[in-house]
Subunit: 281 residues, 2 copies
Amino acid sequence: MAKSVREAFRVPADVDLEELDPRERPVGPNDKSAAAEDMTDLATRLDGLQEALFAEAIGGGKRAVLLVLQGMDTSGKGGVIRHAAGLVNPQGLQIASFKRPTEEERAHDFLWRIRKEVPVAGRIGVFDRSHYEDVLIARVDSLVPKKVWQARYGKINEFEAELVESGVTLIKCMLHISPQEQSERLLARLDDPAKRWKYNPGDLDTRSKWGAYQEAYEAALQECSTDVAPWYVVPSDRKWYRNWVVAALLAETLTAMDPQFPVATIDVDAERARVAASDVT
Amino acid sequence: MAKSVREAFRVPADVDLEELDPRERPVGPNDKSAAAEDMTDLATRLDGLQEALFAEAIGGGKRAVLLVLQGMDTSGKGGVIRHAAGLVNPQGLQIASFKRPTEEERAHDFLWRIRKEVPVAGRIGVFDRSHYEDVLIARVDSLVPKKVWQARYGKINEFEAELVESGVTLIKCMLHISPQEQSERLLARLDDPAKRWKYNPGDLDTRSKWGAYQEAYEAALQECSTDVAPWYVVPSDRKWYRNWVVAALLAETLTAMDPQFPVATIDVDAERARVAASDVT
């Protein structure tokens, strides 16, 4: 039997990012057109699963999903939201983008702004960047003392265990690209006037710290890939494969959750009769 | 030349809802499969237009779109969000559902909760119900004295003119269904266990006031369809046609807005050279 998508991309405990090929395709479609076909099926599956999750919550269920997206600039966090999360009913989504924290946010614990965006029951939350920035840029740029960011791994694990306990299933994806691919994507943004607005000269400063970022990612993956909230590393040098993997992770996770439409508490036959008797002109 | 979708469905000043056929198809596709094909094209157009609107705002633009959805129960507000608004990148959407107001909301002016959900620049806002409930259910059920709801038409017009002034283009859609179609849809919800959770016995109370609601809708359409913020009546007895009309209204409106990608303020050649010189391993 083919490996599940979750098995194929779940990060190993001793992950070494340099050994993971951003172009590898251990499962799934072999080319772009096969992926496109598969995405149509995934869209149908996800549509039904999302609706059941939503309905389950209307019936009093407490479960939700949280897709956490992290990755270097141009790795495709926006593309995944557009093409994978975009497959489901937008009313079922709860998207949060975490930019550089505001002064108010910095005055609070690092998880304060994150907690406010935890998806409500029945929703599929999507984090475009997340609390992991607080052990990524915060570590690489020494925004806080080492002692502070070091303590955060444990706090993140506690926070995520708490989320799981409350009914949230996490899908944490690191979009893994090569520095060569990033260079090509940055040039593509400069070449196309319709993409130029996405180009940020500051991205090159981050790029110049590539090694330090890979180290910080590795530490986050090693410290915070737990049994209740594992990390997945998504090969992202091919956009179509990256989008397929995340959509498949969503579908597989939701299928395993097996959300249930609530059992009606109404007297269906009596209501049928009421509707039939309610003719208006 | 074919009538534009906006022309075809713009509400006449002296609208009489009884004279508008919820099954009429004055423009657009002739059957479901033609509509499906057209929706694929609309999806591509909307994707590009939404991205340009979003980019325009990154460049300092102040424009946004606000799709207001109103209609009797089962008319398809949720379906339109799923199938028409769902065609665009979910990151570009800002969806707000207005339920029965909370105690806090009722303690404020009726527009208080509405103002908080006005889409930010670059977004396509969607209101699932809206400030119009305050001249619909509020009028039909006498939730406030006549003097109060009567004054609201003018306040709504002022509010919407203010929105337009600030850069928001409104697309106000009344999803027009027949009472026969509503009856069928209510029965369909009862018949299908996967739809039963959508059935609310209270909907029959609203249904029993059909005539009063049509009057209240007519008044809202007559009083609040202005040159700057017109109302459209969308024939909604056929779901596929209803979804097509709203998607086409969105596409036509955005095309007329002609959103512009911002002109780069960076030195493109210098940045190309910086990227080329930035090789990392």
